[in-house]
Point group: C2
Chain length 387, copies 2
């Protein structure tokens, strides 16, 4: 899979036994393959620059499918497995459009989604069956096509005696509420707001492109949280909207980064500037980091039936100690930990999800969680390509 | 399915027993549902007008899928079959981009194809499994993703003692060569050039939109073939290119219609004009009709190992007696007949093809004909969506 930040393709090689809550998922190998720079630019700007968009989408679909196929071949080589021996490949693809709500300003006002990365191109390269287009099926039965992670969380991460929240901090933040001893119908899940997207966007701009993200949260650790700016960011109407809800990369976009920088009187590259500019730039990044932490804490307090005992974090945000510290500070009395602590690799989890969705979908099991997506019913997600 | 002229959705309800050359396909019901005018406009102009193309493609995918689902429900009602009892629905969808060759002028220079009409939307409405995205699989193994009809022709229309050509005259013309007693490896198939597309385009323009096609070939019958213009049209370099080859609606487009009209000093609506304009307009349509007939005859003489004994015609062109007469005149000694004569409904055949592809693909059989598409190997076409 590849997420909203379009960094690269995460491939997880898994051994899965059993299905749904009886499943065990062992991670045999994991690897992220960065996109070639020009493909990444095209994927990021496909809906900014509409020139020849139809042709570009058509070509990108095959090119991205080929790259996903290559990622599978690489992970299989690493894990010592012939790709043709895979039972199934689960491919999320790369989202190029996701519209979870009808929008009267757009033609037909239709909920819809498009992922790039032709499953046939993956199947041709790997000689394995490919399950893909998971989100479309949920949308077709009235859901928002997101979030999908709650299926994995419900199947593998619930606890009999503790209320748990599984928090994914990718480009966007999203959580799954798993009450102690609860079942699929008790699951609540939604996007909390920004994950790393705003932080990353500010780091890229303020380093003049020298860094892509705040490694180890070091920049944010050197800054001060601007309470005024944080308060302003927390006025984001998305935060108070009631779940089920989901958001996309167009919401915490380059434009938001520009507005924040303009408000703080910052220019591109200011992290390499004089002491004052550097300090203000670090503080803006600290504030964006606090925004992610506070928006998550706000979501827990506002949209859940009770506070969780544990918050288990995966995604890139779990690797940002400053963000993890801010999250723990914003949630006194709650145990905040990376998901590695529960045996799920925090980086690989999102990719493992699609392995499980494909595995259980191949068996004909329903794999959406209607209480999370708003779907009218449980259905098997994904289309199967077997050349 | 819906073809390059984007007229409407053809739905065929079939009973299929056996597979491949042992298959029998009985047509239980057939119906064409026109597209709503505004959807048709959007589908036709998606790559002329790139405004918000990504959003429109995403929305159209769901809307068109819903319309295809409705077409299935209608044909099931007509045939007295519950849609949930269908073994499988084969959906070609509506092509919005098809690039059979790499084009160095386009990004990535990648062969690719996109059909609109989300299979999940069809499955949600019908409660039946849906096989779709047939062309992508062939392209993923090095083919042109077209033509697909040769599979149907090879399975159902070959003859032990006669050389046959199965000719489809839809928007584009395409043929399948089935030598007497031949097998799949002997099949030759390719697009011959224009089918009804140029004729239709001229009729629309010259009637000022009052007619969409030349009903019963009556307009062409009232005109004279302009040998000079016909000779000029026959210089089309596509005709001499060696198969495998395929073409698309962008090739015999509105621009070609404009050029032909400008050359003949004709303006929109001239079929309703004075006698001289009317005669010139009818003659241009007669000439376009002759162009289709002559380009087919040229293809038979140039690109086949022998002349066929029989040419069996389906698609809208089989319903144009002027075109059928011109075809017979261009092919002395060859028996030219509509495919109804061999038991295959000439209108329904293209839709029946996708029923057979889905049926045989569901059984895991290979359903492309590599000698027709140029694919490196035989594969099962289509992705299966089973909610």
């Amino acid at each position: 899979m590849s997420g909203t930040s379009v960094d690269g393709i995460d491939a997880a090689l898994c051994r899965i036994d059993g299905h749904a809550r009886e499943a065990t998922v062992d991670l045999l190998a994991f690897r992220t393959t960065p996109y070639p720079a020009e493909i990444r630019q095209d994927l990021l700007h496909l809906y900014d620059d509409q020139t020849a968009a139809v042709q570009r989408m058509s070509s990108l679909n095959m090119v991205v499918g080929g790259l996903f196929g290559d990622a599978v071949l690489a992970i299989c080589a690493e894990g010592g497995v012939a790709s043709g021996d895979l039972r199934v490949i689960g491919s999320h693809g790369q989202t190029v459009w996701h519209q979870p709500h009808p929008d009267p300003a757009l033609p037909y006002s239709t909920r819809s989604t498009i992922q790039s990365g032709a499953p046939a191109a993956i199947a041709a390269r790997t000689s394995a069956p490919v399950m893909a287009d998971f989100r479309l099926a949920d949308i077709a039965v009235g859901g928002q096509g997101a979030p999908l992670a709650p299926y994995f969380d419900w199947a593998l991460q619930g606890d009999a005696s503790k209320h748990r929240v599984i928090l994914n901090l990718g480009g966007i933040g999203n959580l799954t509420w798993l009450p102690a001893g609860g079942d699929a119908g008790d699951v609540i899940a939604f996007d909390t707001g920004p994950g790393n997207m705003l932080i990353d966007g500010l780091v890229v701009a303020l380093t003049g492109g020298a860094a892509q993200y705040d490694a180890d949260g070091a920049i944010a650790a050197a800054g001060y949280v601007d309470r005024g700016l944080l308060g302003h960011l927390m006025e984001d109407p998305y935060l108070t909207a009631r779940p089920p809800k989901s958001t996309g990369r167009e919401y915490y976009s380059a434009r938001e980064v520009e507005l924040i920088m303009a408000n703080a009187d910052l220019r591109p590259g200011d992290l390499g500037g004089d002491d004052g500019a550097r300090q203000r730039a670090a503080s803006v990044i600290a504030t964006a980091t606090a925004f992610t932490a506070e928006s998550v804490a706000h979501a827990l307090r506002t949209h859940l039936p009770a506070m969780p005992d544990q918050v288990i974090v995966n995604g890139g945000g779990a690797r940002n100690p400053t963000l993890m510290r801010m999250l723990a500070e914003a949630l006194p009395g709650v145990e905040v930990m990376p998901s590695d602590a529960t045996g799920i690799d925090a980086d690989a989890k999102e990719a493992m999800l699609f392995a499980l969705l494909a595995h259980d979908g191949l068996a004909g099991l329903p794999t959406n969680i209607p209480s999370a997506t708003g779907a009218s019913r449980a259905v098997t997600l994904g289309s199967l390509t077997r050349l």
